[in-house]
Every structure is written in structure tokens, then in C-alpha cells.
């Protein structure tokens, strides 16, 4: 009798939807809010046409975000909103897929489902359907809001379909790497790595005029290929669909050809003993060594590329743009090239890069605790302070190393391609001066872990998110600089030339991070182990 491999898919689908009832709406609705926000932002600007024209002509914004295509209100909305929306859908769809395939298999939950008479493909199919449907609904909402705002139907539809294609591709990638890798943590890490890697072709494309072949390697910028409201190219969608189907087909093939619980890579036997594991710090180092190396390689790669293309950016910032926005005004102090380097180091070294490393490392404490690894360790004569510190040391030192690598590689690329090696030290200083701000964020995470372990993960990310939102509001001219000064970002901001950085403020940030950490340690010493 032939077995129905898809048996029970609908049951599982309903079950997964229930498990995802809080997280699914977040990533599905976020693109809608992002695009709606951009529409109202641009509608509210009296001189948006001039502003966009100037911004589009500016070499710096061009290098970071690429040209505005088409140069219209619609184009401006997509230019400011589609990249972020695509990233949200990419991460959302792939993480959803991983969550219901590899995570469940890793924890053994999948065996419960499979052992209950469900088909072999039921789980993977349900995960695929949820992620795909999520991408589709998210895209549909974006199309709708564009149409409601009075934009052309064809362009709105195409914008949505492009977004949907990005989501489908990452659904496929998520399902595929869940088959290849054995633990869900590495699977999610690989998604981030793919995204960060795609920043390199994106920047090469932007600097190269915005319409090169490189753009095909950057799914989050695929809207620049289809050009909604401009060229309205529907045909690339077919290519996107084929690209999205390939990983899915491959995933089903692998699913059929491997054992449950394992990956396609066979596991090797490890050592009988390890001389390096002498203390909690040694363990913590061992657990993070790989992560730090991967961060460094990523930083070196992207940083080097950024530095290398910097001299090809024209140096001038137009008077008119400077007069129109506070952002351009502060940037004019730096000039386009240094500005580009400064913004990149700021984003990668502080805002969206090293801070993420720092928080993730501190939160590993929580993981060690909730998985009960901490309990078996702390039952030995090891003080709680020593255990927690061993992770914080890795967070502090690791972030400093990552920033050093970032600065050195940006500086090397920049210096090499411009023939001025003094730029190396400049870039290193730019990068290392981010250390106090990153440490404050690590300190906040440590404090939260010490006192509010159960919600520390969510709160830590909320704080970082809040700082990023303030940054975006400032860039949009909605809040003033005083708001930025409430965040650790404001004291090592990209708009501040390195010789104007306040040593006093940076020292104060270091003190603040030490205080936070200390309070966090006290909290951990005096609370129950969960």
C-alpha cells in the first residue's frame, strides 16, 4: 500500500498557525506599516520633489541606498521602504520555516508528530505553506496600501509581487538549510550571514550606477529589477519564481534521503578529553570562538569591500541638500567619502552589527540557564559571579575584537584603493570609538538578565530596537539631537567627526556599562536559578 507522505498536513498546519499566532502577524504586518509610514512621511513633506531629487543625486545616499527608480513619489516610497520590508519578509519567512522544521526536529517534537501517523512530508509542507502564505499576505497588504494611497494599480501590484517573490525565495532557503544543518541556531545564523553577504553586491551595484548584474544577487533589492511604477518589468518575476522553487524541490529530495533527526552531514566522533576546558571562562570561550571568528570574517569581507569602493564616490554634497535636511548638514562636515565609511562603520559596528553580537552573547547566559546547563555547572564549586562574568567577558572582549577587525579592514580597503595608508588608522579609530556604546548595550542586557531573566531576551532586543527607531526618527528630522543623546548611539554617531568625539562622554559610557553590569551581577547572585 502506498503511503501518503502528505497525510495530516492540514492538521499540522492548523497546529502551527496556533503556535505562531503572535509572531506571524508581526512580520506579516510590519512591511505594511513600513510602507504606510513612508507614504505618510513623503506626503507630509511640502518639498519632497526637490528633497528626493537632491538626495537621489547625492553620491553618499546613492552608495548606501542606490538611486531612486523611478524618480517620483512612488519611487521614493519604494526606495525608502521596500529594502526594509524585503528584509523583514526574508527573515520572517525563513525563520518561520526553520522553526517548524529543524527546531522541531532538533527538540524531538517532530517525532511526536511523525509518530502520530502523519506523513513524512506533512510537517515540511505545512511549514512551507505558512511561510509562503505569510509572504503572500504581507505582499498583498503592501499592494493594497499602495493602491489605497492612489498609486497606479500595475505598479502597486508589481511591488507586492516582488516582495512576495523575496519571501518565497527565503521560505525555500529556510526549508532547505533546515535539511542541511543539524541545529536551528546555525540555520538562523546562516540566514543572517546570507543577508550580510548580500550587502556587498548591493553596494557594488549602487556604486556601479545601480543597474548592474550584481543586483540579482541581492533579493532585498529585487524591486530595482522589476521597477514598479517605472519600467514595470513583470518578466523577472518568472525568474524569481524558478529561483524560489529550486531550493524547495531540493529540500524535499533531501528529506526523502536522510534519517530523522540527522542532517545530510554525518556526525564525526569528537575527542575523549579536552585540555582547554579548565574553567567556566574556557567553556564560554569555546562556545563563542566560532561565532566571533564568523563575525570577524563577515566584518572583514564587507568592511574591506566598503573601504575599497569608497574612493569611487564623488566627494561633494550639494548646497541645496545641506540646506534642506539636518542630516545632510551634519554629513557635510565629513564629506561623502568619509561619511560613507562613517555610516557603514556605524551601522555594522554599532547599530545593527556588533550590538547584535553583544546582546546575543549575553542572552546565551539565559539559554544556558533555561536548558539547565547552568545548573549542572553551578552545582560545582563555581560562584555565580564567576559563571556570569565568563560570558560577559566574552561579550565585552569579543565586541572589541570584532570592531578592531571592522576598522582595520575598512581602513585597509579604503587606504589601499586610494593610496593613502593614513586612512587605516582613521577607520580604526572610527570603529574602536564605538566600543563604549556597544558596551552600554551589553551592560543593559546583563542588567536585564540579572533581574528579569524570563523577559530579558525580549526586553534587550526592544531596547536596541528603540534606539534604532530614535535614530531613524532623527534622520527623518522628526526628533532632535537631544533625543539621540538619550541613546548610547548619540555619543559615537557617524555624523561626529572623530576629532570632535568627546572623550569625557565616552568614558562616562564605559562607566555606565560597568555600573549596569555590576547591578546585573548583583541581581543574578540574589535570584533563583530558573
Amino acid at each position: 500500500m502506498a503511503d501518503n507522505n502528505f497525510k495530516g498536513t492540514l492538521n499540522i498546519l492548523r497546529f502551527y498557525l496556533r503556535r505562531d499566532r503572535f509572531i506571524l502577524p508581526v512580520w506579516i504586518l510590519l512591511p505594511l506599516f513600513l510602507i504606510a509610514g513612508q507614504i505618510s512621511f513623503i506626503e507630509s513633506m511640502a518639498d519632497w520633489r526637490d528633497f528626493m531629487a537632491e538626495l537621489s543625486a547625492n553620491a553618499l545616499t546613492n552608495a548606501i541606498l542606490g538611486p531612486i527608480v523611478p524618480l517620483s513619489k512612488e519611487g521614493a516610497v519604494l526606495w525608502r521602504g521596500m529594502l526594509q520590508s524585503s528584509i523583514v519578509v526574508m527573515i520572517g519567512s525563513s525563520f518561520t520555516a526553520i522553526r517548524h522544521t529543524r527546531s522541531d526536529e532538533e527538540s524531538g517534537r517532530y517525532e511526536l508528530i511523525y509518530g502520530n501517523g502523519k506523513g513524512r512530508y506533512a510537517s515540511i509542507t505545512a511549514a512551507f505553506l505558512i511561510s509562503s502564505a505569510g509572504s503572500f499576505i504581507s505582499a498583498l497588504l503592501v499592494s493594497l496600501i499602495l493602491i489605497i494611497s492612489g498609486f497606479s494599480f500595475t505598479g502597486s501590484l508589481l511591488a507586492g509581487l516582488t516582495l512576495c517573490a523575496v519571501g518565497l525565495l527565503f521560505t525555500g532557503i529556510g526549508v532547505l538549510i533546515s535539511q542541511i544543518l543539524q541545529d536551528s541556531g546555525s540555520a538562523r545564523g546562516l540566514i543572517f550571514a546570507l543577508y550580510f553577504l548580500s550587502m556587498v553586491p548591493m553596494m557594488i551595484n549602487n556604486v556601479g550606477g545601480g543597474n548592474t548584474f550584481w543586483i540579482w544577487l541581492v533579493p532585498e533589492s529585487w524591486f530595482k529589477i522589476t521597477e514598479p511604477f517605472g519600467g514595470n518589468n513583470f518578466s523577472p518575476l518568472l525568474v524569481f519564481i524558478v529561483l524560489s522553487i529550486l531550493p524547495v524541490v531540493f529540500a524535499y529530495y533531501l528529506m526523502e534521503n536522510r534519517d530523522l533527526g540527522s542532517s545530510i552531514f554525518k556526525e564525526k566522533l569528537g575527542p575523549e578529553n579536552s585540555d582547554e576546558l579548565k574553567s567556566p571562562l574556557a567553556l564560554s570561550f569555546r562556545q563563542h570562538k566560532k561565532t566571533i571568528i564568523i563575525w570577524c570574517i563577515g566584518m572583514a569581507f564587507i568592511g574591506g569591500a566598503v573601504g575599497f569602493i569608497t574612493p569611487s564616490i564623488s566627494e561633494n554634497i550639494s548646497e541645496m541638500l545641506v540646506n534642506m535636511s539636518t542630516w545632510a548638514e551634519t554629513m557635510s562636515k565629513l564629506g561623502n567619502r568619509e561619511g560613507f565609511v562613517s555610516v557603514t562603520i556605524y551601522i555594522m559596528g554599532l547599530m545593527a552589527g556588533t550590538s547584535v553580537y553583544g546582546i546575543a552573547t549575553v542572552l546565551n547566559l539565559k539559554k544556558e540557564e533555561s536548558e539547565h546547563f547552568a545548573e549542572i555547572l553551578l552545582a560545582n564549586p563555581v560562584s555565580r559571579i564567576k559563571w556570569m562574568s565568563s560570558y560577559l567577558i566574552i561579550a565585552y572582549a569579543g565586541s572589541a575584537i570584532i570592531l578592531l577587525v571592522l576598522g582595520a579592514s575598512v581602513g585597509w580597503g579604503w587606504g589601499y584603493s586610494s593610496g593613502d595608508m593614513s586612512l587605516v588608522s582613521k577607520a580604526i579609530v572610527m570603529s574602536l570609538t564605538k566600543i563604549p556604546s556597544v558596551w552600554v548595550i551589553i551592560g543593559i542586557a546583563a542588567l536585564l538578565y540579572g533581574w528579569l531573566p524570563r523577559i530579558s531576551a525580549v526586553l534587550s532586543w526592544v531596547f536596541l530596537g528603540l534606539f534604532i527607531v530614535i535614530e531613524m526618527l532623527w534622520e527623518a528630522g522628526i526628533v532632535g539631537w537631544s533625543a539621540m543623546e538619550l541613546t548610547p548611539f548619540g555619543y559615537a554617531h557617524y555624523s561626529i567627526p572623530i576629532n570632535e568625539l568627546s572623550f569625557l562622554s565616552l568614558s562616562f559610557l564605559v562607566l555606565l556599562s560597568i555600573t549596569f553590569t555590576f547591578v546585573g551581577l548583583v541581581g543574578f547572585k540574589n535570584r533563583n536559578i530558573i
Binding site: 543539524q182 575523549e272 579536552s274 539547565h372 555547572l377 553551578l378 552545582a379
Partner: protein
Amino acid sequence: MNAIEINKLTKSFGKQKALDGVDLTVKEGEIYGFIGPNGAGKSTTIRILLGMLRKDTGDVRLLGGNPWNDAVKLHEHIAYVPGDVTLWPNLTGGEVINFLGRLHGNVDSVKQKELIETFQLDIRKKCKSYSKGNRQKVALIAALASNAKMLILDEPTSGLDPLMELIFQDYIHKAKKEGKTVFLSSHILAEVEAVCDKIGIIRQGKIVESGTLDELRHLTRTTLTVELKSDLDLNKLVGIHDISHDGGKVRFSADAEYLDQIISKLSTSGIKSLTAEPPTLEELFMRHYGKNQGIMSHNTAHKELK
């Protein structure tokens, strides 16, 4: 000296009362069996002893020290096996055993090797590929190899096969000979019967029974199976329960304090054969399930007897 002294210990998690006045004493060199249904407070008690949880009220002394304040110092003398062992997935079993040994600082490396061999653990495998039983072995080997004065074991053999279970019991007997104190929380009553000197039964956060197995037996009923020469209406006798007939034999349980009376009545009817079974720990234990006692009477095995 007492290794563990607990007086009126309470601990709540929010509204839920996990421990409701626990009193418990373990003498040095004693093997103490700590039994009770799921959720009765066994692990909470152990985690307070280890300084993982802070007590609400009451007194707790462990090896003469305060388990919360002196945790680090006390842990030098304690080896612990958690009930549900989870281990760092990317380390091998050997690495974990070694690492825990180094952290503990006081480990007999010869014994460690011996334990790895007797428990037949492949220490080169990564922990993520271990079964529950194998993870349990890793923690057991690390704990049994240490020279700690005291072993605190929270359901240490769940997931072990019967052969490994025997090896474990053997090591507990050895530990007793070495003068170690063992605090063993367990669901496997045969294991507790086999190794423990003293037993405490915890239920809903309170110790409901404690003492040696013999002492506990006095508190409960003995099961008798008799074949009598002439008929006797057993229902008229005081202290007899659960009468069932099986061919010519009658089976019933008798209260300890009426045993005397019952036997003399039986002998007047002439006894052909008689077997007496002391109450098993299981029967003792079942008495404390309270609400769940119904399960016993619905149990098919019991129905057959009636």
C-alpha cells in the same frame, strides 16, 4: 552530625506552594531515599539544598553550612546528578566528564576510567546524539568519580537499563562503605528499597512519612493468603480489608495492630496453608497518593483478585 537538617521549610512560586513546611534530617553516612509523586516538591527541596533556589521560610543546614550563602564552599563536598540531564550539545561526553571533574577539583581519575568502562559509555560521541540514558550516565560518572562527601541524586537512574541500574546500586553500596552520605530522590521504589537506610515520603510539599523501611512497614497492612479447613466469616473480624477469594484460598490485608487477634481466630478454624507478604514500598507509597487512590481499585490486576 547531621548532613542535612531541614526544619519547617517553605517555598512558593507565585501563588503555588511548592514546599509547605518540610522537616527532614539525614545523618552523616546515611543513604536517604526521598520519594513522592510528581510535583510533590522533591526537586524544589534539592534545588534549595544546592543553593539554586532561595527558601522562603524555615531552616536548612547542609553539612553544617547555609546552602544559599555558603554555596561555593559546600559544593566542594557535594556531587550532584540532576533528574533530567541536559548537556552542552556540541561537547563530547568525555569532554563534559573532564570539564565537570576539573570544576569540582576533587576527582578520582582512576575511578572515573573504571566508571566509564562499567557504564559502557562511548565518550567520544557528542552530547546531542546521546539518548536520555546516556546523558544520565555522563552525569552519574562525573558525580560518582568525585571524592565528594555527599551525593545528591535527583532521580539519577531514569532512562537507565536494568543492568545499568544494578551497577548504579552497586556504586551506591560502595559509597556507603566509604562513609559517604547519599540523598537519593527516586521514583523507582525497588531501587530505594534496595539501597536506602532511611526513607522520606513527600506529598504536596510536606513529609508525610519517614523512617526506616521496617518502621514504615509497621504503619501499614500485611497481605495474607490463607487456606482454611473450615469456613470462617472474615467480614466479622476487625482489621481486615480487601477480601478476595481465589479457589479455596482467601486473600486479604490486615492492619498491623490486629494481626495478633486475626491469626488466633484463623487458627481456630484450622490453617491448611498461610503466606504473609510484608507491604511493599509500593503499597506504602500508594497510600499517599490520596485522590489518586481510586486508580488502585480500578486497576485491572486488582479487579482480577476480587
